[in-house]
Symmetry: C2
Subunit: 331 residues, 2 copies
DNA sequence: CGTTCATATTGCAACGTGGCATGCCACGTT
DNA sequence: AACGTGGCATGCCACGTTGCAATATGAACG
């Protein structure tokens, strides 16, 4: 049975209000009183009741992270940064998985929990920007990833077009001429893959390199298995390729696995590049060349956005965090 | 501005209590009234206030997952299963990272959040079983991993001794005679590594294979970098080895990376085996042989434990979930 | 000695909900 | 006609906290 303010107050011979003042560090408390109350607090191991504080103050101290799946390394690493960073704001991170399902995404955006949370950090998958903005005014929300919702919602992301173009240029510079892309998702409203594809095409065009539909491979989702399947399709189709640029590291690891299985040498016969710079890529064999977004900055910016947004309403912001190419062995 | 019961009641021309009855599905409400109230609820988009419910009912609908770091693939995958499974109990998962720090682990076990949570799922790192049991009676707690706290706390785990022995036997059976182990953590009270070491030694002894200190490599933590460093030490020491059994897949991936870098062939010159069956291992090159714990069962058992424990107090339980060897290419 | 002021402490109310007990009404029974 | 029964609906209260406004205390000053 946890102690409450009343019990502490009774035992210390002061009013409930005074105990509350001590707990919350209100300055107008006599040192002697403060000390006496503090002693009772320690003695009874009093801990403020979060539910009551939440009800009274309207602040839950919770921030929801809404994403397709936490088991995905990229999201896991991001969640780690977010959970660490949240502490500075006295927030605790809550995980909500959508499984990439549109209905579930919609539900979570203003579900039961939506009301009990000080903010939402959302990595949308199936929902279009239009659907994202059309939501009742509840907790502040920040999107991870570039979205066409400028001025309406906050979003934090790297410049995907520039990043994809830079990696493609790297492949061209190192002598590759048949550069495939794995990871397009034409069926999704979520524009991340589209932006990466755009950067890829821009760079090919600028480099005077051939490109076309046969070099672009769609995927259902971004797991290693999808990358593996895509690579198999590409090789089975007999398309000539000397490089693949995958729009996620997981796709790249799956693709590389298949390439090696088929007896290709990486990077000899085939260069493989990824996107995300997940920890696995660093220790892959060969180590994976990748686009490295500054995940810590991404997390920090998202949290700062929420914090500033809950202080005062303002138009949506677009925050771009840095990225760099991490050139390793695979490309 | 979210609607509350009072506003719905006023608009529907009934009492607050009746609206509450409709919301909570209390049967004694006339169908006509129920429908009228429901219409207003939909109209005003009424959503029950979680804080008030929590305060009134003492249930927050939150379960905390306390672990060293969520970015670790094993924990990420486990968190995914837990978040999915929690839904069936109408729980939401909350992530608390300890960074393997004893002080922080202690804090979190009965911290501010500890009181606001319906249960704790804890993967201890630095804390000893004795310290874990010595805590004020707050929310129910279940430990992940085997701990010497039988009868006092619930814990859910695979049989680490048996699993490690089985993998070691597999290495022996496939002809290896100089089998090293990477991943001992003599400085930690947490007994998982110790149990795996025990299984390893048992199997070596039973197989009549040499073992000794020079074959057992300690690590600080379980990251790929630790595995890589351990492998380097092992090779630099000139110890003759034809297999390494790593006590986590991350260690194994780091170790394998170094082995390949040094020009060894895997599994030709060196067999590498891991523990955890994380997704990366499946697509590693070569694919990683590993001990595969049933993570879904682990998650489900942990949640069931919490649920049953919050219904009625009872002595601590020890739940063993199945595991199997996942034999791939690396060993 | 009375007034003023700063400091220290307090009581009241309200946040939104659900348990409890009770009130009300219509209908059927004696 | 009086009474009992059961279906519905309601009012009151408490959960633990904090904002607000008011009050008590003591010191300083005219």
């Amino acid at each position: 049975m946890a102690a409450n303010l009343r019990q502490v107050a009774a035992r210390a011979g002061v009013s409930v209000r005074t105990v509350s003042n001590v707990v919350s560090g209100f300055p107008l408390v006599a040192p002697a009183t403060r000390e006496r109350v503090q002693r009772v607090i320690d003695e009874l191991q009093y801990k403020p009741n979060a539910a009551a504080r939440h009800l009274r103050g309207g602040r839950s101290g919770l921030v929801a992270l809404v994403l397709p799946e936490i088991a995905s390394p990229y999201f896991g690493e991001l969640a780690g940064h977010l959970a660490d960073g949240a502490e500075a704001y006295t927030w605790t991170l809550l995980v909500q998985q959508t499984g990439g399902d549109a209905t579930r995404e919609r539900e979570l955006l203003d579900g039961v929990r939506g009301q009990a949370v000080d903010g939402l950090i959302v990595s949308p998958w199936a929902l279009s920007p239009a659907e994202l903005t059309r939501r009742p005014d509840s907790a502040p929300l920040v999107l991870l990833g570039e979205q066409d919702a400028d001025g309406l919602l906050d979003h934090v992301a790297i410049d995907n077009v520039a990043a994809a173009a830079a990696m493609t240029r790297h492949l061209i510079t190192s002598g590759r001429t048949r550069i495939a892309a794995i990871g397009l998702q034409p069926h999704l409203a979520n524009g991340t893959a589209a932006r990466r594809a755009e950067g890829y095409r821009q760079a090919l065009r600028a480099g005077g390199i051939a490109y076309g539909k046969e070099l672009e491979v769609d995927v259902e989702s971004l797991h290693r298995a999808d990358g593996a399947a895509a690579m198999r399709r590409l090789l089975d189709a007999g398309t000539e390729v000397d490089a693949v640029f995958c729009f996620s590291d997981q796709l790249a690891l799956g693709a590389m696995h298949v390439a090696l299985e088929r007896g290709l040498s990486v990077p000899g016969d085939l260069a493989v590049a990824g996107f995300d710079d997940i920890e696995d890529g660093r220790y892959a064999n060969p180590a994976l060349t990748t686009v490295s977004p500054d995940k810590a900055a991404l997390a920090e910016a998202a949290l700062a956005c929420l914090a500033s947004h809950s202080r005062e309403p303002r138009p949506g912001r677009r925050i771009v965090v840095p990225h760099h190419l991490e050139i390793r062995r695979s490309a």
